[in-house]
Amino acid sequence: MKTGALVLVVVSLLLLPAAAAAAPEGTLTWAVHVSVAPTWFDPAETAGIVTPFMLLYAMHDALVKPMPGNAMTPSLAESWSVSKDGLAYEFVLRKNVKFHNGDPMTAEDVKFSFERYRGASASLLKARVARVEIVDPHRVRFVLKQPWPDFMTFYATPATGAAWIVPKRYVEKVGDEGFKKAPVGAGPYRLVSFRPGVELTLEAFEQFWRKTPSVKTLVFRVVPDESTRLAALKRGEVDIAYSITGALAEELKRTPGLTLAPTHFTFTTWLLFTEQWDPKSPWHDRRVRLAANHAIDRQGINQAVYLGLAKPAHNFVPSGMEYFWTPPPHAYDPRRARALLAEAGYPNGFDAGEVTGEMIYGGAIGEPVVNYLQAVGIRAKLRLMERAAFYKEYGEKKLRGTLHTGSGAPGNAATRIDTYAVTGGRYVYGTYPEIDGLFSEQANETNPRARQQILHKIQQLIHERAMFAPIIEPAFLNGVGPRAAVHGLGLVANFPYSSPYEDLKVKTR
């Protein structure tokens, strides 16, 4: 009995610091490169880009989401299980979770949030999920129409916002428009004020289930020009500046008191040889495409553009994605490239027409790429287009020659291959019959191991055919000032922004 009491005292003493966590204090300020949009306040509108998660991580929470060290961390769900037949996913919800307005989070909210979700892959999710059952107030079951191995990839990662929970009662009361004006979530921070295109201010939500946030106020200032972002960081007006590239990143690195903090996400750029299916084109010859692959010094581009902080790519599927296959690298070898060209019947090289790309990455990466191609005799010219115009013509397959393209869309190897390498894909100029065949085979494969093998085989085929010339997985370079003690950049794998916000710390004087 006495020992029991003693244990109790020791335990409560151990718990004491957690219970008496210090009240949040101080302010962290970001200079954000894009304009914050109110659609990002509502998880239902998540558009298949990673940017809205910058705010979702602060204002909302998901059943399962990527956290440091674990891409599928139980959050508002304590745990989940899959039925033997692969048809039912059951989530056990965390108890005592409160929304910012004090409402408790229940299974009703989970069902409601899924059903009102209309963002990226909404039609796909709704086509596959037969129904959402409320087992009890803290237990939800998703019943699928047929086994779907990618369910958690789509439901519980930034591929969609379907697992992010909004309060049913509140949304029904204020409506969708009202919700965007005054969002209420279960995240560590709540909205204080928002001026479109100018500034967003959030304040710590002390009853956040995981812990009381340490920083009281978060301010996101929209600063579109990157030189200005760096100036604001140098002056101490902001603590974290997103997206600082090239020469400015070098300057940042040299500046005492400032830190360069690179992050990575599932993003690759590559060359697409659109003429490889035309027997009259030099690109029809695999050796020519291989020569292009050997001509490019990927590490050199990495050094020049990303200060060596990006990753040279040899597969157009990003290395952080599920079912990624690691290819043997196409080493930088201009002599080999020239020899391959000679073998293919172009000892003096050939006129390769245009390499077309969009302004941002096409300029920074496309320019050195074209120079490397020219150096081995592939005489190409760079043509840069404004981003919107490029993607329009690319999607309509109006662009010819070689394209410098890229994608940061979330998903897995299968979704990436679907869009870029299989007949019917949005950006597919052509492909090879074996790839089409294997792809439909994997879509019906429920055994994850067998499916992985097929997806690896497809990537291997793409690599062997030199269907693309993968270039680089760009790094997202950011600057951090002296006040940010924990800036959160790079804590969550494959996520470009600061997070989790409740873990951030600021030095208060």
Partner: protein, 306 residues
């Protein structure tokens, strides 16, 4: 007079209708917002769903009719990117643009007119040369570069002014100067040439012959008359400043109409581009109309000529 005004009003309306058709078509042929709002590489189903949601799957003429119909009700539509009414967005940005334009204009006139007069009075002397250099720099240095250099010097190096943003008078200084310098130079050049012309005229010679003091000749007789073309130009420039301060607003993160337009174009946010261009166009048309009417009031030849 009445027919003249009515005719001008008719022309203005025709200009606006033509502008609405042009901007409606131009912004649509060059890019697809649905692809930009999701990541390139998003599934076709997602892009198609978004297109349907934004009403872009309907035929072009149908979209135009819907656009004009809501326009007649005073509704400019919802921004694709912000998903809020465009007119509200525009109104929230307009005061910032007006404030910036007013300050830049004040700067350009306070600097441009006195230096222009001095340059005209002291033709080919050292002050004229200083003025010429000032004007040459203002006209030839791009505003974004001026802005960046000022940020580096006044914010980072000296630490006097905030690098960007809005809210206080200190935030306004650099954007107003960066935007106003070009116009100061233009106003200076025009003041100088206009002054030179007036100073050579008969009535100025007469004033001098009458023995009036030189200061009075310049300030009262010459300057007043030389000011007319300068003010006409300044009026038009003010409208331009409100609407096209895109670069300066971007560099200084100033939340004005120019940046709204820039964002609108980048994301192919059709309703935003249509509204900012149309409202900007309406502003210019209105100013021109007022000028036309004023000319008629001043000059009877115009009034009775047609």
């Amino acid at each position: 007079m009445k027919t003249y005004i009515l005719r001008r009003l008719g022309y203005s309306l025709i200009s606006l209708v033509l502008l609405s058709v042009t901007i409606f078509l131009f912004v649509r042929v060059t890019g697809d917002p649905a692809v930009l709002l999701v990541e390139p590489g998003a599934s076709k189903a997602d892009v198609d769903a978004l297109r349907a949601q934004l009403g872009l799957d309907r035929p072009l003429w149908e979209q135009y009719v819907a656009f004009v119909r809501s326009l007649l009700r005073g509704d400019f539509g919802q921004s694709f990117y912000y998903r809020t009414p465009v007119f509200d967005l525009y109104l929230s940005r307009l005061p910032n643009s007006l404030l910036l334009a007013a300050c830049a204009m004040a700067f350009s006139l306070l600097v441009g007119i006195p230096t222009g007069i001095l340059a005209a009075v002291r033709v080919n002397r050292w002050w004229d040369s200083v003025g010429k250099i000032f004007a040459l720099l203002g006209l030839s240095m791009p505003a974004f570069w001026v802005g960046l250099v000022m940020i580096l010097f006044f914010s980072v190096y000296l630490g006097w002014l905030p690098s960007s943003g809005s809210g206080t008078a200190a935030h306004l200084v650099m954007p107003a100067v960066a935007l106003g310098w070009y116009f100061a130079a233009a106003h200076m050049r025009l003041t100088r040439s206009s002054m030179l012309e007036v100073l050579g005229s008969e009535y100025v010679k007469l004033a001098r012959l009458k023995g009036l003091p030189e200061a009075l000749v310049i300030a009262k007789h010459a300057f007043k008359n030389a000011l007319i073309p300068v003010l006409t130009l300044a009026g038009i420039n003010l409208v331009i400043m409100v609407n096209v301060a895109v670069v300066v607003e971007t560099v200084f993160a100033w939340p004005g109409i120019g940046r709204l337009l820039y964002e609108g174009i980048t994301f192919r946010d059709f309703p935003v581009v249509q509204a900012t261009v149309l409202l900007g166009g309406a502003m210019i048309v209105a100013v021109n109309l007022v000028v036309d009417v004023l000319y008629a009031v001043i000059d009877p030849r115009i009034r009775y000529g047609r």
